[in-house]
Amino acid sequence: MRNLLNFLAKYNHLIVFLVLEGIALYMLGTANNYHNTRIVKGIRGLTAGFEKRVSNARSYFHLREISQSLSRENASLKTTIERLTQKDDHLFFSVADTIRHQHYTYTSAEVVNNSVNRQKNFFTINKGKMQGMSVDMAVISGDCVAGVVVGCSNNYSVAMSLLNLDFRLSARLKSNGYFGSLSWDGKDYRHAILSEIPQHVTFGIGDTIETTSYSAVFPEGIVIGTVSDFEKSGGDFYTIKVKLANDFRKLRFVSVVGNLMREEQLELEKQFQ
């Protein structure tokens, strides 16, 4: 304490000087536009330079994660291209046919209303007729099945969720291609039931279930979920419990898929029924 007082006594004029000079410079900085601008500019330049260095260093340390995420994105883009281009297995086609290669259209939309706790669940998306929506378009969320459009107004559409007792979908085992019918049993929003898989088929828990294009609604190969449990039911078939890949409680950004050749396919098929 005494040392402190001695110190203060010894340097009292220096302290008074620093205080007064500080006040004066503070006034200089705040009261004058020009000086204020210069100071702010100087400080900003200083911090900007510093932050640039820090972020440079940081981005270097994160290169590994960045390259991983890029390669993941690359893979998913490649599969998208693969899905969008039709295989060229016919030799003659009209040169003027601009949509020859395109089978499906994709439109992004946002879910504005959703439910998972009823027996017949629907959700609403913020695109409608004006944006090209129509009934029987497929709704997928992050490459996984979400539902089917059942009604459109001008700017909104209502889609039947996969979590609906009336929802039927043709689905198959990715590993061997055997297909069955997928439906929801109304019990648990994380699981659905795949039936009509014959008992001679071998598969294991964790196998992927994906869509077929038989219904002319969903494109081929959209993931539905994985096998989580199965049991024999009745005589010849398995009942497979499917763990859904989508979390329907978090459904937010979806893509609506339109099949440009649906009419053609259905019309042709009708002639033979």
């Binding site: 009292n12 004029h13 008074v16 000087f17 007064l20 000079e21 006040i23 004066a24 410079l25 503070y26 006034m27 200089l28 900085g29 009261a31 004058n32 020009y34 000086h35 210069r38």
Partner: protein, 168 residues
């Protein structure tokens, strides 16, 4: 004592008026702006306590700032001048020291002593002032030239004023 305070107050008012009404309007070719109000800091008694000297410097600079609309600029420079004054007085002290109770004026210590004493403080004050005014280092030498030229003029005017006061 009272007499002395009154006389210093009168000098203060006169110098402020001179500075604001006359010298603030003098500008030779954009390089020379004489600031003579600093003479007031020069004329304060030798034995004045440093804290009081600093506060008076602060108020003097602040007064000039208010009337010329440059808040903080003259204040900073004048506080700095007040801070260096005791050291300058020590460096330039005459052979037989300062007389107790006397003002550091040309009348008592002579023209040569006053010129050295005033030049050092005025130069320091002007350097601080002019660099605070431009507030950048881009025109470093131009600002230095302005400070030096203005110092020369300020010291000349201060010496002239002191000479007139001496003759009075």
């Amino acid at each position: 004592m009272i007499n002395r305070i009154l006389r210093l107050g009168l000098i203060f008012i006169l110098l402020i008026l001179l500075q604001v009404l006359l010298f603030n309007n003098i500008q030779f070719s954009g390089y020379v702006n004489p600031y003579i109000y600093i003479l007031f800091i020069l004329l304060l008694p030798v034995e004045i306590p440093t804290w009081l000297l600093l506060i008076i410097s602060f108020l003097t600079g602040f007064t000039i700032d208010i009337v010329s609309g440059t808040i903080g600029m003259h204040t900073s420079a004048t506080v700095l001048a007040g801070f260096v004054r005791p050291y300058v007085l020590r460096i330039t002290s005459p052979r037989d020291g300062y007389e107790p109770g006397a003002d550091p004026s040309m009348m008592i210590y002579g023209f040569r002593w006053f010129l050295i004493y005033a030049s050092i403080i005025v130069f320091i004050h002007h350097i601080a002032l002019f660099y605070l005014e431009v507030f950048r280092l881009a025109d470093f030498f131009r600002t230095l030239l302005r400070a030096i030229l203005s110092s020369v003029f300020s010291v000349s005017f201060i010496a002239l004023l002191e000479y007139i006061r001496k003759g009075k």
